[in-house]
Symmetry: C2
Subunit: 362 residues, 2 copies
DNA sequence: CTGAAAGCGCTTACAG
DNA sequence: CTGAAAGCGCTTACAG
């Protein structure tokens, strides 16, 4: 054991959990005594009750600051019957999504005193709902943020309401009270992709869809179709392939599309992973991207700029979405000011790289 | 703390926390009453105290099971002066590493009643240590798992010991008591890479290193050099380039190496991200991988199989490492039986894909 | 082997 | 505007 030992530290040696707590952290009782008030009044200051005389409040705040007092969240939680933990409930298999979302939630929780507890889950498990319930009730979670595709499960919404757990669902469609949701703008993003492709002059345009179990699959397809229609084009049924947001399924789906004759000159993929698979399929088919084939992704995760050629894609500000979700949860469902003032901050945007170009001239 | 809704908020609308709580969850008092014992005895059963008569224990366990009683972690934590939360402290920028590690920790914590609180941090921040201390002390964390590169910071080890927080450091070198560490086998992995490359017949072999701030950079280099030496080769200083574990720095470093004359016929990269960058550099230089150049990565993250050609790399079982770390932390530093019996479960292994081959014959 | 009392550090409900 | 009492659901220390 190195470092600072205080005079009253009589511990013999080794990491003893109790002995080493240098100067014990002050409690509400210490602050009350030092400020010459009851602990209830200190409690009022902590909880920002308006009914405290300014002078009293200032005196207490000074003592709190001087001693670096921080209320114990466990004791508060016990008395409140509710912890200061926020859960992130997710089943999205993409690590980049998960990390960006966590980071965003953490951004939004910063300085609030809340902490983030992560809870991946499996919607297909038979214990899914009971596990979720146990997790939330046992920890008496302050609230949860739920991301796709779990967020789209109506059983989850019902459960959360039934046990009275505050929540924010993140999804690409309005599935619940607006107070309880952050709605993504997937349609808009897919629309931008369609616009880009048609403006390049493509007419034989294909789409690789994500799995039916994600609402975003449908939204992205819908937005894409709308965009094509605006350009006077249709999404031909045989130019639509179903995949599952993974690299492998994207690869297979693209292989099928490229066997068609005439084959598409552009493929819009429901996410970057599938687009990376499509790039692989093009290579195997001896096609040059973008000279022979335009490939476009969705998400703008790291992989988009790592593959060759770097992917033109639709960027979703996942971290910012997470930040907004956390702020909204903490505010009890109130739309964050920033988001109200500038809804565009969670809007998708087109990122043009090297995988898109005009159709082959022949 | 943004106090938004308090428990006695009897607002007519919206999710009322109290109204919906169907049947209240039983407490230790309920169980004690129903079992005809004192709550202290129930507490003994919960905490697996040996001094309870078998008959009594069974009776109590039956009541617990019947009512689905679960002790409140907040109340337990308050009495224990220690929560049932485990923190993951990290600053690794790779999302895949973070998610795999989290998943592994969760695997190891499963059924233990602990929950995982995530805490990314920035070693370079001036508040780094105070923030960390505040986080741990305020939440009275049961313990923490620290990953590279924060885990390699001696200030962190000192702090943790000083405040008496249980911890496991994950690193590529033994930096602490064996009870407090999970040591990775990076040297072995790099050695395997060297063996593979030399067996293919290469002699002009380069290395792209990670940043000095990660011990793994040095270990991987060391293991690689050892492997080359065994084959009677040396790692030439001008064939070593320094990068920072990122795609961009890997790209730049590889460009420099490929300008040399004669240029290397194989490059071993400290991780997959840099190897992806090296692949990009080769393409820009008009070189074919693996015909003109062998490129090898380290980690076997998803990106390794997404790039073209798919990367030969060294697989690290990150998730398993995480699981072992959690088990060890919960066991108070005792090596998990599984790991003792089979240390190889956290050993690296060579994964041969398409980015490696014999050197060009010319 | 078992229990009654006190306490962990907060808050609610009730007074004044 | 402020406080004394009781309580949140557990555990420790002390008895027996």
């Amino acid at each position: 054991m190195t470092a600072s030992k205080t005079p009253d530290d009589h511990s013999p040696e080794g990491p003893n959990l109790d002995a080493d707590s240098s100067r014990k952290r002050p409690t509400i009782n210490d602050i009350a005594r030092l400020a010459g008030v009851s602990k209830k009044t200190v409690s009022r200051v902590i909880n920002q009750s308006p009914s405290v005389r300014d002078e009293t409040r200032e005196r207490i705040e000074a003592v709190i600051a001087e001693h670096g007092y921080e209320p114990d969240p466990q004791a508060r939680g016990l008395a409140f019957r509710r912890s200061f933990l926020i859960g992130m409930i997710y089943d999205n298999p993409n690590p980049q999504y998960v990390v960006n979302m966590q980071q965003g939630l953490l951004d939004g929780m910063k300085g609030s005193g809340f902490e983030l507890v992560v809870h991946p889950c499996d919607r297909a498990s038979p214990h899914f709902l009971t596990d979720l319930r146990t997790f939330i009730e046992r920890q008496r979670l302050y609230g949860v943020v739920v991301t796709p595709s779990v967020s789209e499960d109506e059983r989850v919404g019902r459960l959360l309401r039934e046990i009275g757990c505050e929540y924010i669902r993140i999804a690409s469609v309005q599935l619940d009270d607006p107070d309880r949701m952050i709605v993504g703008r997937d349609r808009l993003g897919a629309h931008q992709a369609a616009k880009h492709i048609t403006e390049l002059g493509h007419t034989r345009i294909a789409f690789i869809s994500g799995p039916d179990t994600f609402r975003s699959s449908h939204e992205r397809r819908g937005g894409f179709e709308d965009g094509l229609n605006e350009a006077g084009l249709k999404l031909e049924p045989n130019f639509v392939a179903n995949a599952a947001y993974t690299f492998e399924t994207g690869l297979t789906a693209a292989e099928e599309l490229l066997k068609l004759s005439p084959r598409p000159t552009a493929i819009f993929c429901g996410n970057d992973e599938m687009a990376a698979g499509a790039l692989q399929a093009a290579r195997r088919a001896g096609l040059n991207v973008p000279a022979d084939l335009t490939v476009i992704g969705f998400d703008d995760f790291q992989i988009a700029s790592r593959v060759w050629p770097p992917l033109t894609t639709i960027r979703i500000p996942t971290r910012e979405v997470g930040r907004m979700a956390a702020l909204k949860l903490i505010a009890g469902g109130q739309e964050p000011r920033e988001l109200k003032a500038e809804p565009e901050r969670i809007a998708p945007s087109l990122v043009v790289r090297e995988s898109s170009g005009p159709p082959p001239s022949k």
